[in-house]
């Protein structure tokens, strides 16, 4: 169906050119599901978009062979591509909230495809084909009025409206909750079973292993390894692929390092469990936490205990109230009712002025450190402020795996992983007894995520710092945490030691969550 040889795509950046894709060969046969896997900047999205002539503004594309349905498309202009887009290939992007025009109804968006290609069919039957309930009512709604899963279905409906033989799905489930992701993957699997051709682009090996027949692993614009999914993931030949597979956190990865970076000498390897004899020293104890906004109850009676050196996971889907719990514990917002005690003394109900001397013992790491730093401050100043005049910025940075080179850089000049390390260094500086981590690795590539998770495990092992670790990613939590609380609609539905909860879930919601997680079965040795 598609045959590309030596695909190269370059973009002008200032006066130089950046090679995003450097010689990719790609064949897709009808009825096949092919996956492009790689981390950010690997060129996987650019490769996929080039297949519909949308490489990007100012891009230069060169190939030695580029055939679609046996026709040479190398000389194609905008007009020829326009005919192919939508009719030969449909494109599904990450988040339908921004990938569908937010000012238009989903019906108008789907109808647009039908009109452009004068395709038969109607909006309502397309929406019901992707299992949207009440399709005629939904067609009149705007993306923001639909749930994440429904609007992703609507986006898929618009991509398949003109009946294209090929569907290109670029991170189609990345922004979704795990149960919704499972439904969308089911939908894609259903289309694949019906004989449709699918090109899947993903950073998530588990998602890929569920759907794809063949996998191409990309790094720095090249395909470094390819082969059929099962055998490639079971026995990766390339070191980078091995590293990727190894970096996926899960139940099976508990107690071992995810990344292959060298362990600092001072750090002990056995990161299992809290330090001896500290089991009953409670760092934070929250009782009956409740938070309402107007008539809306966001957190409803949450009890929470974190002991010294313990990692407690807090999992739940978006809207479950887990971030609000973090804010209540941190003291950013006052609870409607309930109390928090920090290191044995009352924490809620105090004036901020009285809390401030103890604030240093309680630190916070967010998902996006770029917005948590003053963009005009250098790393030296950021870390220096946290050290409160004490010296030792360089040893601190070395502890989190950074060198003194970054001292005079600004946050935006750092990579995502480096930024999160600076955030961790800043949090560590005042020697806190608890760090609240709100989705600290969700924005990171899997190999960088692995390094940061290893770092957090090391910090707990050496310093005995407790972590309240909030995440939607059950694999990450299972890898790292000692105990876990599962939240839904503001309440904790289940809690306990991590293996008990995740291996023998008692609550049906926990079971549903765990069932929905796509697992990388081949890697569980």
């Amino acid at each position: 169906m598609i045959s590309v040889r030596d695909l190269r795509v370059t973009f002008p950046v200032g006066r130089t050119v950046v090679e995003a894709v450097r010689g990719v060969d790609l064949d897709i046969a009808a009825g096949e599901c092919v996956a492009l896997v790689g981390e950010s900047g690997s060129g996987k999205s650019v490769t996929a978009r080039t297949l519909v002539g949308l490489a990007g503004r100012g891009a230069t594309v060169s190939t030695s062979r580029f055939e679609i349905d046996g026709k040479d498309v190398r000389g194609y202009g905008e007009r020829d591509w326009k005919r192919l887009r939508g009719s030969f290939a449909g494109l599904v992007l990450q988040d339908a909230l921004v990938s569908l025009d937010p000012l238009r109804t989903v019906g108008a968006e789907i109808g647009e495809v039908l009109r452009i290609h004068k395709a038969p069919g109607d909006v309502v039957s397309l929406l019901s084909a992707v299992h949207v309930p009440e399709p005629s009512r939904r067609a009149k709604q705007y993306p923001h009025q639909l749930s994440g899963g429904l609007r992703q279905r609507a986006l898929i409906a618009s991509a398949i409206a003109a009946g294209p033989p090929l569907l290109i799905a670029d991170e189609p489930t990345t922004a979704l909750d795990v149960t919704v992701q499972a439904q969308i993957l089911d939908l894609l699997a259903e289309r694949r079973a019906a004989g449709e051709t699918l090109l899947l682009i993903s950073h998530d090996l588990a998602v890929v292993s569920r759907l794809a027949d063949r996998v191409l692993v990309m790094k720095d614009g090249r395909v470094i390894e390819s082969g059929d999914t099962a055998s490639l993931l079971a026995a990766p030949a390339h070191p980078y692929t091995r590293e990727l597979v190894r970096a996926v956190p899960s139940a099976a990865s508990r107690g071992r390092r995810l990344s292959s970076t060298a362990v600092p000498d001072s750090v002990a390897l056995d990161a299992e469990g809290p330090p001896e004899g500290a089991a009953d020293s409670v760092v934070i104890r929250a009782e009956g936490l409740r938070k309402t906004y107007g008539r809306h109850t966001v957190v409803d009676g949450v009890d929470l205990v974190v002991r010294r050196g313990e990692i407690v996971g807090l999992v739940g889907e978006s809207g479950s109230g887990k971030t609000t719990v973090a804010q209540l514990v941190f003291g950013l917002v006052p609870p409607t009712s309930g109390t928090v005690a920090f290191e044995g003394a009352p924490w809620t109900g105090l004036k901020e002025r009285r809390r401030r001397p103890r604030r240093r013992r309680l630190q916070f790491i967010s998902q996006d450190p770029l917005s948590a730093f003053d963009p005009r401050w250098t790393v030296r100043r950021i870390v220096g402020e946290a050290l409160a005049g004490k010296s030792g910025a360089v040893p601190l940075l070395e502890r989190v795996g950074l060198s003194a080179d970054v001292l005079d850089r600004y946050p935006r000049q750092l990579s995502g992983g480096q930024r999160q390390r600076v955030a961790i260094a800043r949090a560590l500086a005042p020697r806190p007894s608890l760090i609240i981590c709100d989705e600290p690795v969700s924005a990171l590539d899997v190999s960088v995520q692995a390094q940061v998770l290893d770092l957090l495990a090391d910090i707990r092992a050496t310093d005995g710092t407790a972590l309240l670790f909030i995440s939607h990613d059950l694999g990450v939590v299972h890898h790292l945490a000692d105990r876990v609380l599962v939240m839904r609609d503001g309440s904790v539905v289940e809690s306990g030691p991590i293996d008990d909860v995740f291996h023998h879930p008692q609550h049906e919601y926990t079971r549903a969550l765990l069932d929905a997680v796509p697992t990388l079965e081949v890697s569980q040795r």
Binding site: L54, E78, G86
Partner: protein, 300 residues
Amino acid sequence: MLRRLATGLVVLWAAATAAYLALLAAPGDTVDAIIGDGADTPLIRAQIIQEWHLDRPAVVQYLDFLWRALHGDLGRSYLLQRPVAEVIGGQLAPTLTLASSAGVLGVVLALVLAITTRRPWARRVSSTLELVLVSTPPFLIGIILLSVFSFRLGLFPVSGGQGFASLVLPAVTLALPVAGVLTQVLRDGVDRALDEPFVVTARARGLGERAVLVRHALRHALLPAVTLIGWLFGILLGGAVIIETVFGRPGLGQVTLNAVTSEDMPVVLAVVVFSAFVYVVLNTLADLAYLIIDPRLRRS
């Protein structure tokens, strides 16, 4: 929406009060301030004291002023010997014609420019032109247009307010700076919208470039432009005062200018209150326009 209306009423009340306080704070006797450069006879003084209730307590004067303003009674100009409402009403039509044709022309010009000048070279030319238009005072544009199209080419009349031909140059003069700013705002909005993922989706459907611009990006670009509607009104009214003078047109601008220079306070007060009224109406319309353009702002 009810809150919007309430805010509008507060703005109107504040404008009327401020104008009234300005009248009280004017140097000398309030009667002198109201007379301005008009004829000063004992009979007229008695009339003024009766109309403005100047022999009653200040609170009564103020409440009475508000009460009359609420009913559209803006008092009487003793200089022109006519009711203020009549003075303004008589000159409203030419100014409205000028302002609305300039406003429409400016908006249309901006829309066309923002959509058609997408190529790098056209963009550069247009951006330069916009900058020149925005930074040139309107009266200078007016004088240049006059000297080229009226004096040299003789295409349009030099002055006067009769007929379509006399409207062209003043409307163009007022429209150009408006178009300059609006084009910049719209282009910026279109640029930002084109970077959004939904544009990739739209293109991937096989939608042409022009359709992507008009059907998707432009609507997003309209949102920041609508915010400027209040500013637009200021430019048009302030501009009208000067443009009407440059082109010798009758209108509200001329009335305001004469009232200010001859210290005809009742007319000045009325112009202030009337401007605030139009401003409130336009901004309420802008808020409505937001709701029409962006469904996310509508409450379900």
